[in-house]
Amino acid sequence: MTDRLPESGTAAVTAVPSPAPTSVLQKYWPIIATALILGLVPLRYGDSRATMGIAVAGVLFATYAVSFNIIFGSTGQLFLCIGALAGVGGYSSAILADRAGLPLLLSMVLAALVSSALGAAFSWLVVRRSLDVIFTGILTLTLSLSFSNLVLGQRNWTGGETGLVVDAGSETLLGDQIPPYYIMLGLLVLFLVVYRLLQQSHIGWAFRALRDDEVAAELAGVNVARYRIYAGAIGSAMLGLAGAVWAHSEGFIGPSTYAFGSVDVRVIVMVAFGGMGTLLGPVLGAVVFTVVDEILVSFSQLREVLYGVVIIILFLGFKLGVISEFRRLVTRLRSRPGRRGRASELR
């Protein structure tokens, strides 16, 4: 198999309508619009440290959601270790910068590479053993739980239950009130651009082909295994990087920072809500959920209950499975004359 898609491969996947982008502006305007809208948040809430903290966390979750969307939305690998991969990034970067004294940027990049390697390894396992969604989910869940146990157990490195104070970054822009928001937003924009670039490259064609029909894609010469592992590696690197940036801007990480219950469940709901396999869906989901979460704070004790109810309603509403439901919606929008542009802008 070659790196590029062979001729037969491209022939088979041209059935997917091409967005046919003409200029850079046309290609990237949804991302630019998102950046501009989200960029306005500090103008309104910049005075309040608490609100800005929530906003940064919201954008952080948007970056998680975009990364998860590459892994699950694009190639159908249910990675239930979003928090763990981000946590591997966060803890590695904190330890590399604080203990080993590496420069901040270098340690963040190295941390992203560690997460990437881990994600790629799991992806490789999944592909090699051709595990279905459930087994992929359980396998990666064991990674999540092992990670949280390691964090609790390896006190010398992680501070165990009390958490770890991250010094590196506190005296830079990351320790400020508003700049972390823009740094996180920059990261989100970067991720969205990566997503767009992937979509429009041969990798994106392969993703769509294998998501639509794995066997047909394989027959058409798409190396399904390789593209799955690509998605795992790229998405995990993004998760690790986001987790690392968060660790340094927050200045403190603990067992709950990257816990399954506080990261994975939310991210899945966000992505499912916004739309699997879409460009801006995960961002939309993250924004909506951050806002809803803040409204629910006043119900402190019943928050978890409401959370469960929201999940149930959300997924009952998407009875056919979120992906197909959304695709149906897109095709309906597409088939309506005059709405063509609207449908393609979301993709």
Binding site: L78, L125, R129, L131, D132, V133, I134, F135, G137, I138, L139, L141, T142, L143, L145, S146, N149, L150, L152, G153, G261, V265, I268, A272, Q301, L302, R303, E304, V305, L306, Y307, G308, V309, V310, I311, I312, F315, L316, K319, L320, G321, S324
Partner: protein
Amino acid sequence: MTAAILDGIVLGLQFGLLGVGLTLVYGLGGVLNLAHGSMAVVGAIVVANSMAAGAPVLVAVGAGLLAVGVLGLVLDATLMRPVYRLRGESRVLLSLLLTLGVAFVIDGLLVWRYPIGSLGIHIGGDPVEILGVRMRTGSLLASAISIGAGTVLVAFFRLSTAGRAVRSVIQDEVGARLCGINPAAVRSLIFGLSGVLAALVAVTRSMTAPIPTTAGIDFTILALIVTVVGGLGSVAGAFSAGIILGIVNTVSSFYIGTYITTIMLLVAAALTIVLRPSGLLGTRA
């Protein structure tokens, strides 16, 4: 060492009982019930409250089993309906997400209503000596109940007509339907039974260690691990996996330390998935 192994067997029987409820529902309807552990805790709280209200232990236990059995039936009749309309992977995925929501609701309500509630059933009596190890009566009774429940289940599936109907649906839903078996009725039966088993685990477990309201998620994860290692849809597989994992658990926590123990259980599950996806005694290739 003998003590650790015997303790492991006691613990493992609980694991097995926990896994059976989950594995049956999965093997039958392709529904991975992530609320299984939370349902067990519901049972524990019902039993604890009935006992606090002055009911005799046996009556309280009966009420707990019944309550969770009914809860299982209700779930089956309501939220699981749209799930059963799907096939294959999307069915599993939807069931997983919906029951996750259910688990959140149950856990949230329990913690809200009974923040410090817990169930501990004290079984009196002198320790009994087995192989030179003094075992608590509670542990022995819990094990006996687990073994009894396992035997009844195996007998039910092998000997009774209803049990054979269940097995036929596990093997081939369409084929079973062609033979005049109603898969929906069989699924309801098993979902209710799974609830009863969940409550039973809560009862037996509480004879050796108190069950707090927050135990749901831990139960579910343990049940998942047991199910994966034992093979989906296999009663004997769940019990053998439970005993193996129980022994691994106690021996390693005895010699190495507690947090490594959990990781070893997880690694066991991960290795099973990678090396033998059908589990120890699983039927699926």
